[in-house]
């Protein structure tokens, strides 16, 4: 029957668009970078200021608050009615992953800011224009004794922030491509990998001028391990959808084979984000050539891949609804 029931445009609107994709990326990077920073902090052996490990810690501590604040700003701006966002703060729905997420963010953000102040204490003291924060800094110094506790809470909060974004999407059984229990794991893993990548990148560029071959090799192997975790996870995710029965299966297949979006996945997420770094690492390890350039390229590629993964999932879910 030729259409005569009115416009169906409202069914095709992409409600969560690029702003949300970027927010998920930023939230992931924030959580990932601070988790990595904490792990490095807890496990490092050398105490040298100019080691790559220290750079990574510093990087994570800086990236985490900046990216989460940027992300929060994007979230509020993307709301249909941004000025009404305060309702999120005064109402709580324990059944809503979004509401839980707001709670986690309300806990995480202040703690990460406090942690940042702790890590950069010496820098704060050094710079005169930060002295108005003087009394605040004194207070921060007094928290030193609680450092370990703060760090544990931070890790907990960061894990919550890092995984809640996956649950935000997977909770919706109305969206076949999101409704997988594997999605939160994919997101968490990818956010940790983005954390590693950004910490290396920012660390090398801003906080460290030299890095020795052993460290490079270590980082390249770390890259390899992360990619070899992510690739199978993505595989499990999609295979799970293929066996999801009915619409889920056909939507997943369509999302991987149709048009520009499929291209973004295969070229961007898999190609640039995973296979390119993989090839670089294997090549480097084989030929024993350890250049800083490789690491920087890999880190950028991984970050791009993570962003594109968020973009792909967000859009594919809303387009391939069945």
């Amino acid at each position: 029957m030729s259409p005569m029931w009115g416009s169906t445009a409202q069914y095709e609107v992409i409600h969560w668009s690029w702003a949300i994709a970027i927010y998920l990326f930023l939230a992931g990077i924030s959580a990932g970078s601070i988790i990595v920073a904490l792990l490095v902090k807890w496990n490092r052996h050398e105490r040298s200021n100019s080691s790559i490990w220290d750079a990574m810690i510093k990087s994570g501590t800086l990236v985490a608050p900046v990216s989460i604040l940027a992300g929060l700003f994007l979230l509020v701006a993307d709301l249909g009615r941004p000025l009404s966002f305060y309702w999120l703060l005064i109402r709580f729905n324990p059944l809503s992953v979004m509401s839980l997420g707001v709670l986690f963010l309300l806990i995480y953000t202040p703690i990460v800011l406090v942690f940042t102040l702790l890590v950069f204490e010496r820098t704060i003291v050094k710079y005169a224009w930060l002295s108005p924060l003087g009394s605040f800094v004194e207070w921060v110094k007094s928290l030193h004794s609680y450092a370990k506790t703060i760090e544990y809470f931070l890790m907990g909060a960061a894990l919550c922030v890092g995984s809640y974004t996956g649950f935000l999407l997977s909770a919706l059984y109305a969206i076949p491509l999101w409704n997988s229990p594997v999605l939160p794991i994919v997101f968490l893993t990818s956010s940790i990998s983005s954390g590693i990548a950004v910490n290396i990148l920012i660390g090398l560029v801003f906080f460290k001028s030299t890095i020795n071959t052993e460290s490079i090799k270590y980082l390249l192997v770390l890259d390899l391990r992360v990619i070899m975790t992510e690739l199978p996870l993505l595989g499990i995710f999609f295979v799970g959808l293929f066996y999801g029965g009915g619409e889920v299966s056909s939507m997943a297949k369509a999302a991987l084979s149709h048009g520009g979006l499929a291209l973004i996945f295969w070229l961007g997420v898999i190609g640039i984000g995973l296979l390119l770094p993989l090839a670089t690492v294997i090549l480097a390890l084989r030929s024993h050539v350890y250049r800083v350039g490789y690491i920087l390229t890999n880190a950028t590629a991984v970050l791009l891949g993570v962003l594109l993964l968020r973009y792909y999932i967000i859009y594919a879910g809303q387009i391939y609804l069945g």
Binding site: M1, S2, P3, M4, W5, G6, S7
Partner: protein
Amino acid sequence: MQGSLRALEPSVLKGEDKWVRSVCEMCSSRCAIDVRVVDGKPVWLQGNAFDARMHTSICARGLSGVSQLYDKDRLTTPLIRVGQRGENRWREASLDEALSFVASSMQRLKKTYGAQSMLFSSKTGESFDLLSSFASNYGSPNTFSHWSSCPIAIESALEQTFGERAYRDFEHADYIVNFGHNLFEGLDIPLSKAMARFAANPSKKLIVLDPRFSMMAGKADEWYPIRAGQDLAFVLSLLHVWLRDAKYDHAFVQRYCIGLDALKASLKETTPQWQERYTGIDARTIERLADEIYRAAPRCILDWGHKATTSPAEFQRTRAILIANVLMGNVEKKGGIYFAKTPEMLNELLQKPLFPLLQSPYPAPNVGISRIDGAGEEGSAYRFVPKKHGVLNSIADAILTQQPYAIKGWFLTRHNPLVTVADPQKMRAAMATLELIVVNDIYMSDTAMMADVVLPEATYLERDEGIHVHQGLIPSYTMRNRALMPLRGTQSLRETVRRLADALGFGDAYPWKTIQELRAYQAKGDSALLESLVKRGYVQATIPPLFLREEASVRAFCERYAHVDLMRVSEMFERRRKTPSGKIELFCAHIEEAFAGYGVPCAVDMDVQHNYPYTLISGKSAIHTNAHTQNVPYLHALMSENPLWMHPSTAKAHGLRPNDTCYIENEIGKEKVKVFITEGIRPDTLFLYMGFGRQTPLLPKIDRKGSSASKLLSLQTAPVCGAMITNTGVRIVRA
């Protein structure tokens, strides 16, 4: 939104909140409606539940009455043409100026060429009755209703076969054969609802014949995609089988009909095998259906439809269908067909004036001049066409050839022939030669653009009108009551005619000045009736339905009215019919005399494709009414174009994909179309919904949107009845 309930929320509690009972006019089904008016603004519409068949139902078009009422594109002031005709340049004028312009022009035409040089056309209904009387008093015989573009074949066939109109008892039938009568898109709520219930009832059977998988076909138990225009072949083969096997109501035919022998002779060759090559329907199916229908008789109906314009054989087709009903013996049977029990008939039977008798407020004196199309006149090709209604297809040629006499003017109301009548290209050329065109409409339609004077009509929600009697099993009365005063200077046709009649010197012909006087005159002073019609909108006395040949029905009626004699009631069916023979005519001798071979249904005139590769058919949608509603905002939002339906194999053959554009053409015209590919149509057939493809620069929303099938229709008419033919052969071209 202006006029919506929400917009009025704060004032609802304080302001006036009332219900006005009226009659819808978003299509010509004219369902009884309730209008909720809050603070002088209609905010809600629904069916008038006093008509039990309506309950509170109302369709999308009915509900859009408010959207139409407040449509910003509605005409608000009279317009007088400046520049060339059709150039579309206008100046606003006061009603006084416009009406005196019209009056003086009409006087001039009458003096120079005679009153007959002016045509008057309108959609059938109260406006047509009013306009015809205006025309007659003015002195012109040339009145045209929309009948010849719609039901004229049926009206003629009924008249010639029974001597009166027949009605269908869908509610109680067990088996219905539907010949494309699309009650689920061409809505008439009481009938559509009855049909919907019928179709949803698992113990009943619905057979639908339609080249397209329409909404009606979608509800069929069996749908046959019959080749366009071939219904007659199908019916003739059914009749053949029944007569061959003597499976028909012998007693009824013997007693009440004439012409059985002529019928038998005509059907000798029309076997189920014979019809296969015409319809594409298997011979065994005909045998089976014939058997099933016969076994369901008399609770079976072969539905002759409403709009009958499918082929030149229209008159024959409809006659064949009527005869099929007769043979099944369903006349005046429950679940079959019946004739109107008029107020006069019932009052006489009951010996009490239970049903008010009305007098027409629109006197139409006989005009001694013959019509341009010879409708109803001896010796003319259209002698069997009802005189008042005329043949629309004859207008363009008559004007262009100035035969039989000069035509110089045209007064139109509620009529848009440049969209609804065949060959609008020729019509436009003809209209260009006229000296006076007056259009009374709510929109600046395609036809209005060719006018000299455009008068802004008030919509039905703004009009008080007279009483309408609905004939059927039990007569009912409705009356249109205005829900609000006319907006911004629009006025009803009645007021326009009233003033023009005065200006033209025959104002005294009308025994009323105001609507109140009109109603009082019509009701012969019956104020109780009028009060009831204002308060309830729908008036119907409660009596048991009377099917004259249904024993149980007659008995129930007589039990109810002890003084009514059972014999008397039964005798009512025995009376002489208004046909030449006084009986039901299977064979019409007088038609045979005038048109040899047409006295009895026979296999003629069925071809519509004329050697073209495809037949273009058209039809109604549930969203729009012909060429009237396309601009109404609510309805426009639902459906703003009419893509051409074609089968996937057709699309493939021309390398067409969904939403491609291409053209359809034949010797009459060429029209651009947008492609809609669907399994729901025969591979050799194409379909367009009516009413699109407009030329209305002043209505930019609909201007040049969609396609007009009329541009490809020829002015050929169906023999005997003068019907327009809306199926035609076309070819597809890419550019």
